[in-house]
């Protein structure tokens, strides 16, 4: 596994991505897991999501994180992220970013022919959250798991999922707060966990349920989560 990891990192270095993309700050680096779940992932985080539970969730899923990148509006990010999507289709790209970055990244995904499994708009504030999810077939089950997880955590939330074959939402889950000490950032951790698990072909519900209560700094505002790659 180390050999494979070195090889992948070598490839990224050649792309100029191992350290920085578009001069972003490298905000975290995860240690390799003993059990690796799915293809290696590059993680995009912005608007404070770098300090959220999103990364912890990905790590908890046993996903190998090659790099963590903060997107910006620089042309360096645009060019190098595009190059990564074009030249490394074996990588997964998982993100929790702001609306502007999401628009740029999805535009790049389309331009480079990347596959996309998940696109969700999230809003968090005043102890509540909303999650509107568009998912492709291979991400089936992630949204319902997220909803069940938020309900189990005692969250006050609305979750709605659509997928291309149907015009009507095929999933709508609502939770009302029962626990004032609701895990404040659990949605981000659970989202990271589920998106990372998806590539592994299975979700370890036990580990999902065991995600730490407050695994990061609480987020507020609007975010977009996404999953790209084969």
């Amino acid at each position: 596994m180390e050999i494979e990891r070195r090889s992948v990192l070598g490839g990224l270095a050649a792309l100029g991505l191992a350290g920085a993309v578009g001069r972003p700050d490298k905000v975290a680096a995860a240690s390799p897991k003993a059990v690796v779940n799915g293809a290696p992932a590059v993680v995009l985080v912005g608007s404070g999501a770098e300090h959220s539970g999103f990364l912890h969730g990905i790590e908890a899923a046993g996903s190998e994180i090659l790099d963590v990148i903060r997107p910006d509006f620089g042309l360096g990010f645009l060019q190098q992220a595009g190059q990564m999507l074009r030249e490394r289709p074996d990588l997964r790209l998982l993100g929790l970013v702001d609306d502007a970055s999401a628009a740029v990244i999805i535009g790049l995904a389309r331009a480079t022919g990347a596959r996309q499994q998940w696109l969700a708009n999230h809003w968090v504030g005043d102890g509540r959250s909303r999650h509107v999810i568009l998912s492709a077939d291979l991400a089936e089950g992630c949204a319902s798991r997220l909803g069940r997880h938020l309900a189990a955590c005692g969250g006050d939330f609305d979750l709605l999922e659509r997928s291309p074959p149907g015009q009507e939402p095929h999933l709508r889950i609502t939770g009302s707060a029962r626990d004032s000490a609701m895990k404040r950032d659990n949605w981000a951790a659970a989202t990271g966990f589920l998106l990372a698990s998806r590539g592994g072909g299975h979700v370890d519900d036990e580990r999902l349920g065991a995600l730490p209560a407050a695994s990061g700094r609480g987020l507020s505002g609007h975010f977009v989560s996404l999953s790209l790659g084969n």
């Binding site: 608007s47 609306d99 628009a103 022919g113 074959p165 505002g221």
Partner: protein, 516 residues
């Protein structure tokens, strides 16, 4: 095949017919260029309109690399009556992005037709395929050391000249009216023929990219904002790099100042003293480069005036900021700078900010980049102002008169505020006309807000039409409503052309409200 069983189908096309067509597309293009899996189609479904993404779900996306392949696609579509929605780079943000007009249409994605066929550094012309991006063109010019500038719209680097010109987009340099600076097209027609417009029809001609008009009716216009063919090549004119470029801003304190501002700029624009599109940017548009609404308030509804005033004060933003630039030799720029500064002084309002005075101001730098034709994606910051992924450009045209701007701004603000949204707008002065550009930003995570945004935009269109105004471009949801505003005769003529050129109606049904 299991994947395909779940795909969306085009209207009035059976599963069996669609599968047969898909097989023919694969034989023509190769399987890797026929996208039918949900994961492959998802990137085409990121919409900002006030409708669920699934309403725009395509049944497939095809990527072609040659004109012959486009002809083959058109033939297969005709055979199975499959509608195709053509995109070039698919970055028509705020106007529908890459999504088809309605669910089930097959997307013809021309991103792989990305050859820069010719650039003539003497005549300052280029002949491009639809997938060429502005960044690609800039890189090419740089590589060949051609002293030529491009004129990008705001999403510059990732958008392309062909698609933007065909949607009659505008930029910010002296070549800002993109269709005006285009010259010659190649179009695949529904009958499979390839039309080269104007001088392109003359065998052995070398004037296709230098003389627009040819002989007889001028046809290029009918292939813009329309669905009469698939444009596979476009000629554009490039701006010779001037010896000197001098961007500047003028800040105005009061909303009402815009009247005087336009009266001052119009003659400077018409006379060519200021040759580029002068942009008059409202407070919140200007602020979006650096500020989020949630930095100041998390209350729902329109942002209170007191908050807007606070943003102005804390960030040194005017009620309006005018951005313009001078281009030419040092002597020309010096003369014109003198004319501009005298005009501002005589007007008695407005504070000039030069590039040197602006320093690192990101808003100034962004605007200077646009006016210089540099690549930038700073405008994406608008999407973070309110957040939630909803954005629609409301873009009515006005006469370049001060009284018109204030009237339009007040009308738009009143309607937007009534529905709980902000006026995030700017005006672009193009000599005699103004493009009034308002970004209707809303939160797509709230179903009620989506509905409100939908109704708000419809009312904006209605209320402006009642005053004799119409938009020059619109997203997929409102194409019929806008076509109605332009009257039944125009609509009938458009339909007559559609029936003549595309009798089966396979090209982008619904585009600009045009169907067979």
């Amino acid at each position: 095949m299991a994947q395909e069983q779940k795909t969306v189908l085009p209207e009035k096309v059976s599963r069996q017919q669609f599968d047969r067509a898909a097989d023919e597309f694969r034989r023509l293009l190769g399987a890797e260029n026929v996208l039918v899996q949900e994961q492959q189609l998802m990137p085409y479904m990121k919409v900002m309109m006030p409708k669920p993404e699934t309403e725009f779900a395509p049944s497939a996306a095809l990527t072609a690399t040659t004109v012959e392949q486009v002809q083959g696609i058109v033939k297969i579509c005709g055979k199975y009556k499959i509608p195709i929605w053509t995109v070039s780079t698919g970055q028509n943000l705020g106007y529908g992005t890459a999504a088809p007009h309605h669910r089930g249409q097959v997307i013809l994605d021309l991103k792989k037709m990305n050859k820069i066929i010719d650039v003539d550094p003497d005549l300052c012309t280029a002949l491009l395929e639809p997938g060429v991006t502005y960044q690609q063109l800039v890189d090419y010019l740089r590589e060949h050391k051609y002293a030529l500038w491009v004129d990008p719209p705001a999403p510059s680097a990732i958008a392309g000249p062909v698609g933007n010109t065909l949607d009659r987009g505008v930029g910010y340099t002296p070549y800002s009216e993109h269709f005006m600076f285009s010259c010659g097209m190649e179009v695949v027609l529904a009958n499979g023929e390839v039309l080269r417009t104007a001088m392109g029809g003359v065998e052995g001609s070398n004037t296709w990219q230098v003389f627009k008009w040819g002989y007889g009716p001028y046809l290029d216009g009918i292939f813009t904002q329309s669905n009469y063919g698939v444009v596979t090549k476009l000629g554009i004119w490039l701006m010779p790099a001037p010896e000197m470029f001098k961007p500047f801003a003028i800040k105005y304190e009061r909303d009402e100042d815009i009247e005087q501002l336009v009266e001052m700029f119009r003659p400077l624009s018409i006379s060519g003293v200021i040759p580029n599109g002068v942009v008059l940017v409202g407070t919140l548009y200007e602020a979006s480069a650096t500020v989020r609404r949630s930095d100041y308030t998390t209350e729902p509804g329109a942002t209170p005036q007191a908050v807007i005033d606070k943003i102005r004060k804390e960030h040194g933003i005017g009620a309006w900021t005018a951005y313009a630039a001078l281009y030419g030799s040092k002597e020309q720029v010096a003369v014109n700078w003198d004319i501009v500064t005298r005009a501002v002084k005589q007007s008695g309002v407005g504070q000039i900010v030069t590039e040197e005075e602006a320093g690192d101001d990101p808003a100034f730098r962004y605007r200077a980049d646009l006016m210089r034709g540099n690549m930038t994606i700073t405008e994406f910051g608008l999407y973070n102002w309110r957040g939630g992924g909803g954005s629609m450009w409301f873009a009515p045209v006005a006469q370049a008169r001060g009284s018109e701007t204030l009237k339009q701004m007040k009308l738009a603000t009143q309607i937007l505020n009534k529905y709980g949204f902000d006026y995030v707008g700017e005006f672009i002065v193009g000599q005699r006309a103004l493009h009034h550009i308002v970004d209707v930003l809303f939160d797509r995570t709230i179903e009620e807000e989506m509905k409100r945004a939908h109704d708000c935009f419809a009312e904006l269109l209605r209320a402006f039409a009642a005053e004799g105004y119409a938009v020059y471009r619109v997203n997929n949801v409102y194409m019929d409503q806008v076509a109605e505003v332009y009257g039944p005769v125009q609509r009938n003529v458009n339909q007559t052309l559609k029936r003549a050129l595309d009798p089966q109606g396979i090209f982008a049904p619904g585009k600009s409200g045009i169907r067979i």
